[in-house]
């Protein structure tokens, strides 16, 4: 069960290829009304009905929060992933009816900041599309540093530069352009907040340097939706509901629990929000933690797991579900 969210019945109003990897999807309400208000950094969970399988993947809303006639998301095709992005790219057509969650924001701007410093990597640009629109509409002070592999994969780099000029700085991996991160972080005026969205390695690097250079944790915001990783199948006992289930190779633990008819709380399905945190009653084996929610201590303790993205290898696992 998605905590605190209600479903929205939408229709796909447009499908726009952006570059060789990224396609943009537009959604409108089927009843023609306005969609709920959201703020920059919010995401929706898109339900993908693919035969007898339902995938639920989170995507950042990238349109302007000032315009709620439609929601837009951009999906990067991941040929090696679990199939959600391929489903979106291959099977979703204009006019198709779909169901999405209400927007939820786990990566919101701190509007007390004197300045917003944004660091994007690759498809991590999407929440910044909405945040920059929101800030520009309110004369907010921001600066966006965007790293992409090549110019042709710099999704929306052209749009952003056109909109915001030299407030956007691009770095292309293939031209050996790299952020001078320490210099950038050390030259920001007091009262700046830092936002980073991109690959896990980039987020860890930026958080680590910021902490070392004296940025208080309250000023560093990050979002990384970990896609559930495939892995060896494993068996789990759900002690509360008295069921034993098998988690398939391409299935997440949360999906397997849901498939067994148990309805645990969830929100982001990407290891970020903490809603699906589950207590471990007993275990004999090794946890593969992939979330950004639990502390390192929690990970080591073996007492908690985030079933949306984390897995298990070993003899037995009993969960309080």
């Amino acid at each position: 069960m998605s905590t605190g969210t209600t479903k929205l019945d939408v229709v796909v109003s447009d499908v726009v290829p952006v570059n060789e990897l990224v396609t943009r999807f537009h959604f409108r309400r089927r009843d023609g009304e306005l969609l709920p208000t959201f703020s920059g950094g919010a995401h929706v969970v898109v339900e993908m009905r693919d035969g007898d399988r339902t995938r639920l993947n989170p995507y950042s809303l990238m349109g302007s929060p000032l315009d709620t006639r439609e929601y837009t998301i951009s999906v990067r095709r991941d040929d090696a992933g679990r199939g959600g992005s391929l489903f979106m790219h291959r099977q979703v057509k204009p006019g198709q009816e779909m169901v999405i969650s209400y927007p939820v924001n786990l990566f919101s701007l701190d509007l007390r900041a004197k300045k917003h410093l944004m660091l994007a990597g690759g498809i991590g640009i999407t929440p910044f599309m909405a945040q920059t629109s929101q800030l520009a509409g309110a004369s907010g002070n921001f600066e966006l540093h965007y790293t992409c592999r090549t110019a042709s994969l710099g999704t929306y780099a052209d749009v952003l530069q056109q909109r915001y000029g030299n407030r956007v700085r691009l770095y292309h991996d293939d031209r050996e352009e790299h952020i001078d991160l320490d210099r950038l972080l050390s030259s920001q005026p007091l009262g700046t907040h830092l936002y980073v969205c991109g690959p896990a390695g980039m987020i860890n690097w930026v958080r680590d340097r910021a902490a070392n250079l004296g940025w208080p944790p309250e000023t560093v915001h990050f979002e990384h939706f970990a896609a559930p990783q495939p892995g060896a199948p494993f068996d789990v006992t759900l002690a509360v509901s008295g069921k034993t289930i098998r988690v398939g190779e391409q299935q997440s633990l949360l999906e397997a629990i849901e498939a067994a008819g148990v309805d645990p709380p969830y929100l982001c399905r990407g290891g970020v929000c903490g809603q699906c945190e589950t207590n471990v009653i007993s275990s004999d084996g090794k946890f593969i933690h992939n979330d950004h929610w639990l502390s390192e201590e929690d990970h080591r303790s073996g007492c908690k797991i985030m079933p949306c993205v984390s897995r298990f290898e070993g003899k037995s696992l009993v969960l309080e579900r």
Partner: protein
Amino acid sequence: MAAKTIISRPVYGTLSPRPGKHHLFIADAEGALAITNMAGKAPSGFFDGAEIVFIPGPEGKHVAALEALKPMQLHIAPSFASLLPRLKQTLTNAHMGLRLYLAGTEGLIGQAMQVALEAGIDHTSIETEHRGSLARRVQCVHCKGITENVTTQPATCSHCGLLLLVRDHYSRRLAAFQGVCINAEDRSESPPIEEVFR
């Protein structure tokens, strides 16, 4: 050490060195001892990038102890009002990486924090340690005047003269506790006045 009563009542910790490029200390009177205590836990060279602004107060002690830490800068000020322009200027020109440490009386911590909040520093990012007097800055909720160094309960507003119950209800924005008229129904009532905030 102040006990938590209601949610807005500030609680203070013990200064500890944070990672950062510049360290700004503001202290009054016995607050200097919080800094010298912390110095024992600080990595070597920590005070090379530190600035200490100190109000010695009437007893005039502890200056030598702070000099001994060999901070990059030590500025002695006769009062908070006298250091305010300098503090504002420092924060206006500062960069991320500056860490703020406040030690001493509640009035000093609260007023310095008020300036820091305006400069965009989150109150949870500030290291604080309470030392010395528990005297309060109190805002009269009726006339809005602020009375400094309130030590009694109730206390007389130095602006409008009402007798005020000094509450634990605290405003970070105003850096003051709230004082509410204690005998609004019958002004001839005069509850006993006790010295409770020493």
